[in-house]
């Protein structure tokens, strides 16, 4: 049974570095996914995530509600990723990966694509055409399970805007997924 975040935070603040290492292992993948979506590049994202953890370690004492650690980390990661993307003035990841969904860095095993259901592969192809920020939004909602209010706090957008964006994205996905093969997907 894994320890809750609050205990790990308390342990780290008491001087047990292993607690923080456990936090890193726990959140490295979702944070990596978020920053990769935003920056469009795995290596940049890895740097960003490392900076997120370093920043978190330095200011963990100031975290008033340790139970909110998860959304707090995501918010730092979102800002860090956005900042990096703006700095480098590069476009969303669709500029590179949408053209080659099979090359998307999050796909760890290209060979496996042959054995999966066609509808799932089709969804992947459609998703690969979305902008990185949109993918990040859907991930936060569907994969990480954040509510619109949480996502609003993470992304800094108004809750109503987040809701609208999620609805539009879902509607678009449905249309394309159920539409004729060879469409935009």
């Amino acid at each position: 049974m894994s320890q809750p975040d609050e205990q790990l935070v308390t342990g780290f603040l008491s001087g047990d570095d292993r607690c923080f290492e456990e936090l890193i292992r726990r959140y490295q993948e979702p944070l990596m996914r978020l920053t990769t979506r935003i920056t469009g590049d795995a290596a940049t994202a890895e740097d960003a995530v490392q900076e997120v953890f370093l920043a978190a370690a330095c200011s963990l004492e100031s975290l008033e509600r340790p139970e909110k650690l998860r959304s707090w980390l995501f918010r730092i990661a979102h800002r860090k990723g956005t900042l990096l993307m703006k700095r480098t003035r590069r476009g969303p990841p669709t500029m590179s990966y949408s053209e080659h969904p099979e090359l998307e860095p999050t796909l760890s095993a290209p060979r496996a694509t042959r054995h999966e259901s066609p509808i799932r592969n089709r969804l992947r192809r459609i998703l690969s055409t979305l902008a990185g920020q949109d993918r990040a939004l859907l991930d936060l909602r569907f994969i990480d399970g954040f509510t619109c209010a949480d996502i609003s706090m993470i992304s800094g957008e108004k809750p109503s805007t987040v809701r609208q964006r999620i609805w539009r994205l879902k509607r678009d996905l449905l249309d394309r997924l159920e539409g004729p093969e060879g469409g935009n997907a």
Partner: protein, 1046 residues
């Protein structure tokens, strides 16, 4: 959807995001409404599908440990990691900085061997790595090329490697470096080469000095096939972010990313997104993923400074100059000499594109006590060609410093004064040419004077040549070579025997312009001397081809046969002009048959009179190189128009539309039918061709449009072609729109370009073209542009307004502008627009425009004189008292000839001028008698300047004899008209007729004889000048001439 419920509420229900009350209500509705229930179920399925399709993001192994180690370092309060060894190993010479960022071309090698089961070749994946390191492949994966060593050259490292390949990097041990994904070229088993994008490639250097290349090339054959199929992707650039943003540019946030893009060498100015930046916009092209390299910022900054500045210089963007100057200023302080040298070179290159405010910093450099900054600032000012009043004062301060202690600064100051062509610099430069100054400064000053046609420059150079310093003499001769009319032929003859090859070469070359046929034997001896250097022999041949006449061609053909083919090329080409002489034609054909460099040119020259050459050209047309097509067509257009038309027609059918060869063929068509060529180009443009084809077609269409008005349809196509074109093409189109199309269509387009184009050069081109488009919108737009912060645009707008004879009220303030050139052109535009003479602003502008250039000054005078005759007396008075003799010479053109009260006084003023050519011009233009002109000429100490030749030749009282004398008599000196020399020229011509006959010597001889006839007639008419011209010679000439024409 017929249901009234907002579907978003259904979505929120599916997500469990509704407040409890609302959820109950909506859930009840959904259960009763089939549409909403269906939507709800689909949304739930979508969420489940999304989760199922999710794959975890890859995290590199050891990430947590690395982060913890880094955290420990931070918490331990350890200072910066120990400074790494310098990454840069700059080589000798200025080119070293070109290696600042090495491009590591990571090629995913072919199967081993090529053509094996997979048959896959991947090439040209690229990324940036540091300078100074070398790489070699240590281990090969199954795809790698067998035993392919890293190919290393200055500026780049190219290795062939593949997934899993280990690259050993020597001389450097950075923590980690990331390479990028980007374009790669893929060759499929059919050897079809296609370009596709790859994902990022990371190079991580473990402790030690090895880089492990991880390239996520898909393992799956299907994925590879997908990759191969996707061949339509446009190539995209790759690069890396090497300079931390915070250090890149202490400029605005908007600017910083652009500078970073520049540093990475990835900024393209076409297509892509638009970055607003002040009044201008930067277009950023699409690019690949970027990775930030965690490394020592100082090292990177030093490495990238030169690259950054060169990129910035290329961009010509407002605001970027400031960033470049910031970077450069640091570089000047702390980098080693070689980097600084390169930085200086780049800064000088970009000097012309700096904005006025940016250039003010250069003025502060000039004011500093730092020798290097002063020298660099001066070089930049010289390159920019403009000197403000503040800078001028500073330059004079520098010149007053001690000669020995401040030599570097003083030399820089002289270089500025010599380069800017500033009219008031002449006195200073003349002072510098005094013997008390160091020779190199005297040479610089003399060069500046020569460039301004000031005779003092020649005197200074003669002294320098007499110092015996060969290196200095060589430099002096090279300077004079650019200003050929300041030394007499006799001087050059003396230098033919100089021990210095460059002096001998320059002398031979100059004698080609100033010498006589009597110089031919010496020059031919030079050419025949096998021990003479090739450069000298070539220059001597060049002179021979200029001096020789029809009577010399057979002797020269014999000479050509004895020479080395490479040396003889120029001579063979010159002989090809004598296509009527079968003997010469035979020699020329023989000597050029196996020489691909000149063969096409020779055939082109022979084609006029030689049917065989024409046949050869026609035969070779189909396989001629693209570069030769247009000259060949030019040669055939006059003699074989039908065959040329057929060749072009068949060629166009055969070639792919838009290819370079196709475009050259269209240009060939344009020789005979420019409008048809335009129609062909427009037809291709109408089919939305690929970008490259479109650019080629538009470029040619614009070039044709500059030559002649192609009509409104072509103008419309050109206008439509502006969006999406590069700045050079946009500028070309704007220039073409000055001539092509109707005012109604073209003026709005040019006005829009002038207002909105992000490139300064395009805006300037639009402003210039608007000067040919009189209309009210034109004047309004140009008026606005006069107040534009872009100084070049403001000047161009004022010049166009002057041309149009308009001066808007809003430009009144420019009469008081800080910039002298703007003041000058504002006053000029006002003068051109005025119906009544308004002397004061004009006179003041001319008086104060000394910081402007002679070119501006003289052009302004011309404009005013053409547009407003009432101001001519003002111009004349202003110019007459000017310290520059060239401007006084110009004043002579306005000498009064109306018999008014002032005429004698002004004529007397010209007569006592200190410079002989002002005296001559004053006499000639002022209505002086031929005798007075002759007297003035007698006192002329040297060769006539080109300016004087051109000006005097246009003048009515002396028209008729002067041009003939200048072209037919090559005797230099001009102390007096030399009747003996004139007779000698005529005798030469007659001998040519005797030897070859008019049929052989051809049109050139007939033209020369015609000149001779004019000369004789003129000499007779001006008998007081040439009393010794022999009547018998004249009679004999006419007889022979008449015979030659039969």
């Amino acid at each position: 959807m017929s249901c009234d419920v907002n579907p978003e509420l259904v979505s929120r229900l599916a997500d469990g995001e509704l407040p409890r009350d609302e959820e109950r209500e909506i859930r009840a509705h959904v259960e009763g409404c089939s549409e909403c229930r269906d939507l709800h179920d689909r949304l739930v399925r979508l969420a489940a599908l999304y989760r199922a399709a999710h794959r975890p993001a890859p995290v590199s192994s050891g990430f947590a440990e690395r982060t913890m180690r880094k955290l420990a370092t931070i918490r331990g309060g350890r200072a910066r990691p120990p400074r790494r060894r310098r990454l840069i190993r700059l080589g000798a010479g200025g080119a070293a900085l070109a290696a600042a960022a090495l491009l590591l071309i990571v090629a995913l090698g072919p199967s081993d061997p090529v053509g094996s089961a997979e048959g896959l070749v991947l090439k040209y994946d690229s990324g940036w790595v540091w300078a100074g390191m070398s790489a070699s492949i240590q281990e090969r994966c199954p795809y790698a090329i067998p035993s392919a060593p890293a190919r290393i050259r200055l500026g780049s490292v190219r290795v062939w490697l593949d997934r899993g390949t280990i690259v050993t990097v020597e001389n450097v041990a950075p923590a980690s470096i990331h390479l990028l994904g980007g374009s790669i070229r893929v060759m499929n088993p059919s050897h079809e080469s296609v370009r596709v994008r790859t994902p990022a490639v990371s190079v991580v250097a473990p402790p030690g000095s090895e880089f492990t290349v991880r390239c996520p090339l898909p393992d799956d054959p299907e994925a590879i096939q997908t990759l191969l199929r996707d061949s339509s992707r446009p190539a995209s650039s790759v690069g890396a972010l090497l300079l931390p943003a915070a250090r890149a540019a202490p400029a605005t946030d908007d600017l910083r990313p652009v500078v970073i893009e520049c540093l990475a060498g990835r900024l393209t100015l076409s297509g892509g997104s638009t970055l607003p930046m002040g009044q201008k916009r930067v277009h950023l092209g699409a690019h690949g993923p970027v990775l930030q390299a965690p490394c020592d910022p100082d090292e990177i900054r030093r490495t990238m400074t030169g690259v950054a500045i060169s990129r910035i210089a290329e961009l010509d963007l407002e605001g970027l100059g400031r960033a470049a100057l910031d970077i450069a200023e640091e570089a000047l302080d702390d980098v080693d000499g070689e980097v600084r040298e390169e930085v200086e070179r780049l800064l000088v290159t970009m000097a012309p594109v700096l904005t006025r405010s940016e250039f003010e910093r250069i003025e502060t450099w000039l004011a500093s006590e730092d020798d290097l900054r002063v020298a660099l600032g001066a070089r930049m000012a010289a390159r920019r060609g403009r000197v403000t009043d503040t800078m001028r004062r500073r330059l004079h301060e520098i010149l007053s410093l001690d000669s020995e202690k401040a030599h570097l600064k003083r030399a820089a100051a002289v270089a500025v004064l010599a380069s800017t062509d500033a009219v008031t610099s002449h006195e200073t430069l003349r002072t510098i040419t005094a013997n008390t100054e160091p020779p190199d400064l005297r040479l610089l000053a003399a060069w500046g004077l020569l460039a301004s046609r000031d005779p003092a420059g020649r005197d200074a150079l003669e002294e320098i040549l007499g110092t015996g310093d060969e290196a200095l003499a060589g430099a002096a001769v090279r300077s004079v070579r650019l200003n050929s009319d300041v030394m007499a032929a006799e001087d050059w003859r003396g230098l033919l025997r100089s021990p210095h090859p460059s002096v001998r070469a320059a002398s031979a070359f100059q004698l080609g312009f100033l010498g006589t046929p009597d110089d031919l034997p010496a020059l031919e001896a030079m050419v025949s001397d096998a021990s003479e250097s090739e450069d000298v022999r070539r220059d001597a041949i060049s002179a021979i081809t200029r001096l020789s006449g029809p009577g010399d061609h057979r002797r020269l053909a014999a000479l050509a046969r004895q020479l080395d083919p490479v040396v003889a090329r120029t001579l063979v080409l010159a002989l090809a002009s004598y296509a009527r002489d079968p003997e010469v034609v035979t020699t020329v054909r023989e000597l050029s048959r196996w020489d691909p460099v000149i063969r096409a040119s020779v055939l082109t020259l022979l084609a006029r009179h030689d049917a065989g050459a024409r046949d050869a050209l026609v035969r070779e047309f189909a396989r001629a190189p693209v570069d030769s097509l247009v000259p060949t067509a030019r040669a055939l257009s006059a003699t074989e128009p039908e065959r040329l038309r057929e060749l072009c027609r068949s060629g166009l059918e055969r070639e792919e539309a838009g290819s370079p060869r196709w475009v050259a063929l269209v240009e060939c068509v344009a020789f005979q039918e420019p409008h048809r060529a335009a129609t062909i180009l427009r037809a291709v443009l109408a089919k939305s061709p690929p970008a490259e084809t479109r650019a080629r077609c538009l470029t040619l269409l614009a070039s044709l449009g500059i030559r002649s008005d192609l009509g409104p349809a072509a103008a419309r196509d050109l206008i439509a072609g502006i969006p999406g074109s590069g700045k050079d093409l946009r500028g070309l189109i704007c220039t073409a729109l000055g001539a092509t199309g109707s005012h109604e269509e073209v003026v709005p387009a040019l006005c829009a370009r002038l207002r909105n184009d992000p490139s300064s050069s395009v805006r300037v081109a639009a402003a210039r073209s608007l000067g040919r488009r009189p209309s009210e919108p034109t004047v309004t737009t140009l008026s606005e542009a006069t107040l534009d912060p872009d100084r070049d645009l403001a000047v161009a707008a004022l010049i166009s307004l002057a041309t149009l004879g308009r001066f808007p009220d809003r430009a009144q303030v420019l009469l008081e502008a800080d910039d002298a050139t703007i003041r000058l052109w504002a006053a000029t535009a006002r003068a051109c627009a005025g119906t009544t003479p308004d002397r004061m602003p004009l006179a003041r502008a001319f008086a104060e425009a000394d910081a402007g250039t002679l070119r501006d000054y003289l052009a302004a005078i011309e404009n005013v004189a053409i547009r407003n005759e009432g101001l001519i007396p003002t111009l004349r008075d202003r110019c007459l008292d000017h310290p520059s003799p060239r401007i006084r010479l110009h004043a002579a053109r306005f000498a009064p000839r109306d018999g008014g009260d002032r005429e004698p006084a002004i004529r007397a003023r010209f007569a006592r001028d200190t410079h002989w050519f002002v005296r001559v011009a004053g006499a000639a233009y002022g209505g002086g008698s031929r005798r007075s002109i002759a007297l003035a000429l007698e006192n002329a100490p040297g060769a006539l300047s080109n300016v004087l030749r051109r000006d005097l030749a246009r003048h009515a009282p002396i028209r008729g004899w002067y041009p003939a004398r200048l072209t037919a008599v090559r005797e230099p000196g001009d102390e007096q008209v030399d009747a003996e020399a004139s007779s000698r020229v005529i005798q030469t011509l007659l001998r040519a007729v005797d030897e070859g006959g008019a049929e052989i010597v051809g049109d050139d001889a007939v033209r020369n004889l015609g000149r001779g006839a004019g000369l004789i007639r003129s000499l007779k008419l001006s008998g007081s000048l040439v009393p010794s011209a022999s009547d018998s010679v004249v009679r004999e000439f006419y007889r022979r001439f008449a015979e030659s024409l039969r």
